[in-house]
């Protein structure tokens, strides 16, 4: 655990000086950090607990809409609305889990697609609150300690803090009782019950925590976008991207989702500038390659090789 925290500390230090060194690459860094945070949050449920969600855009959208509507309609500062969004996302996660966790296998995943779709329709139709299909615009933001939240540097640091907090949460959980309960339920619900673990409660807790963390990143995303449209934010593509980021990086590993964000967003950006319209095709091929040849994800595969090597060494000598 100290090893992981040390790694996180080093990355944080790099992050803190990053805007001074690469002032022209802040937007892509914000994307990487937000996706790292979202994918790591997703992984608490999808990787550590084995419940694959294809609806995490719901929570991103909730965070973004809470911040935008709170600011533009009610003059509420983002930190309050992010806390509210987290509570609301957790409640939605609880409700959705309560409805669907009795479904085993792919049915839960399929049902999560519906959540974002429902929220998208609500956002389009409840114009009085959400601005309907046109969306909401954030025109002003408070300036805590004189910091301009519209500046990319401030947004970068918010995204950095978000990603760091989520990764730190996972580091702690990976060693704690809850982390073992998550994995036990993922591996085999019957064995988990034989160890006194309630599978449904465990899944609900994971879903609530994952949803709440994702929505906080969504709130930051709302500030970054400043203009929120329902079909962009509640998009299935975003849900799928979040899940794929974690899967390609390595499900159920501490650093996998963050590595996935770096690879996918980095590659995505490169492909977009180089190949324009063909970028989705190349994105697709990249995903196929990982699924076929590195099914455990990048970090998952590395970890497995390390364990094997260690064991082979011990078996020899």
């Amino acid at each position: 655990m100290t090893k992981h925290f040390l790694g996180l500390g080093v990355l944080l230090a790099v992050g803190i000086v990053y805007p001074a060194i690469f002032p022209n690459y802040l937007t892509i860094a914000i994307s990487v950090l937000l996706f790292a945070g979202w994918a790591t949050s997703w992984d608490l449920l999808g990787g550590w607990n084995g419940q694959v969600s294809l609806g995490h855009a719901s929570f991103v959208g909730l965070g973004a809409y809470f911040v935008a509507i709170g600011q533009s309609r009610f003059g509420l500062a983002p930190w309050w609305t992010m806390a509210m969004a987290a509570a609301f996302a957790a409640a939605l996660g609880y409700f959705w889990g309560w409805l669907t966790f009795s479904l085993r296998g792919p049915y839960f995943s399929l049902s999560t697609i519906a959540v974002a779709e429902i929220l998208r329709l609500v956002a389009i139709n409840e114009e009085w609150l959400t601005g309907g299909a046109t969306g909401v615009f954030i025109a002003t933001l408070p300036e805590p300690f004189g910091i301009d939240l519209f500046s990319r540097v401030a947004q970068f640091y918010m995204a950095l803090a978000f990603a760091a907090v989520v990764v730190a949460t996972v580091i702690v959980i990976s060693r704690a009782r809850f982390g073992y309960q998550l994995r036990a339920v993922r591996e085999d619900e019957d064995s988990a019950m034989a160890a006194g673990i309630d599978p449904t409660t465990t899944k609900l807790k994971a879903f609530m925590l994952s949803a709440a963390l994702t929505s906080i990143g969504g709130g930051i995303y709302g500030i970054v976008l400043a203009f929120i449209e329902p079909h962009v934010i509640f998009a299935l593509l975003l849900s799928v991207q979040i899940a794929l980021t974690a899967i390609i990086g390595g499900r159920g590993t501490i650093w996998g989702p963050a590595v996935g964000a770096l690879v996918l967003i980095g590659a995505g950006e490169m492909f977009r500038t180089t190949f324009a319209e063909a970028n989705m095709l190349i994105y697709g091929i990249l995903i196929l390659v990982v699924v076929l040849f590195v099914p455990r994800g990048i970090v998952g595969e590395l970890a497995r090789r390390r364990i094997r090597r260690l064991y082979a060494k011990r078996a020899q000598g």
């Binding site: 060693r175 073992y180 085999d188 019950m193 006194g196």
Partner: protein, 238 residues
């Protein structure tokens, strides 16, 4: 002998099929109860019904006089049930210690405390030297012991052993028999489903024989093995 576990008139039905029909059993602390019968007799089903992994159609199960018939399996574990599974599925990517830790966390809140408990149990089953090895690398006999360690780490009052002797070579079998004996001398109530007659005869204080979901005989190992209905059930008649 005071009863730790009682099951009265247990019936389990799957659709229209009665897998277990009106079977009762009781078990005191330090007692070993063997459950035998030909394949498909309903042993594992009865076992699963008592531990909460199969639905009970009718009947009543009590643990220390508390009615637990309606409780889900994980609550029965919390009240004092430990069980092994016939097909042991250790958590392969975790170490042996971490596998046991999952169960140890039930009674130990802090990690250090849980680790201590898990280590104790591993010493008991003779896996302490492999604590930090991935569970993936254990052979069958050691996987069985790991399965046993997981069941013991919840600090049960009654332990349910589902064919833990199957497939073991003679020395490993002897060790396992000796180990189950120690568990009972420590005051644990043991219910075991077993095909290996050597283990049943040597260990059981009491044996229940099932055939086609019905209890066809019960008594000491000597009584049941000389019972005509039992011999008939195993060998058939012509």
């Amino acid at each position: 002998m005071p009863n730790v576990l009682r099951a009265d008139g247990i019936t389990v039905k799957f659709g229209g099929v009665t897998a277990v029909n009106n079977v009762s059993l009781s078990l005191g602390s330090g007692e070993i109860l063997g459950l035998i019968g030909p394949n498909g007799a309903g042993k594992t089903t009865l076992f699963n019904a008592v531990t909460g992994f199969a639905p009970v159609h009718s009947g009543r199960i009590t643990l220390l006089d508390k009615d637990i018939t309606a409780l889900p399996a994980f609550k029965r574990t919390r009240l004092g049930f430990g069980r092994t599974f016939q097909t042991e599925r250790p958590f392969e990517e975790l170490t042996v210690l971490e596998n046991v830790l999952i169960a140890a966390f039930l009674t130990a809140g802090r990690r250090s405390e849980a680790e201590r408990l898990a280590m104790n149990v591993l010493e008991q089953v003779g896996l302490a030297d492999r604590a930090h090895q991935p569970a993936l690398d254990l052979n069958l006999a050691r996987r069985r012991r790991l399965e046993l360690a997981k069941a013991l780490a919840v600090r049960p009052k009654v332990i349910f052993l589902d064919e833990i002797m199957a497939g073991l070579n003679p020395p490993a079998l002897r060790e396992m028999i000796a180990f189950v004996r120690t568990l009972s001398t420590q005051g644990l109530a043991v219910l075991m489903v077993e095909h290996i007659m050597e283990a049943i005869i040597e260990l059981s204080d009491h044996v229940i024989v099932l055939a086609s979901g019905e209890k066809i005989a019960e008594g000491t190992p000597q009584q049941v093995t000389s019972d005509e209905r039992v011999i008939e059930a195993y060998l058939g008649t012509d």
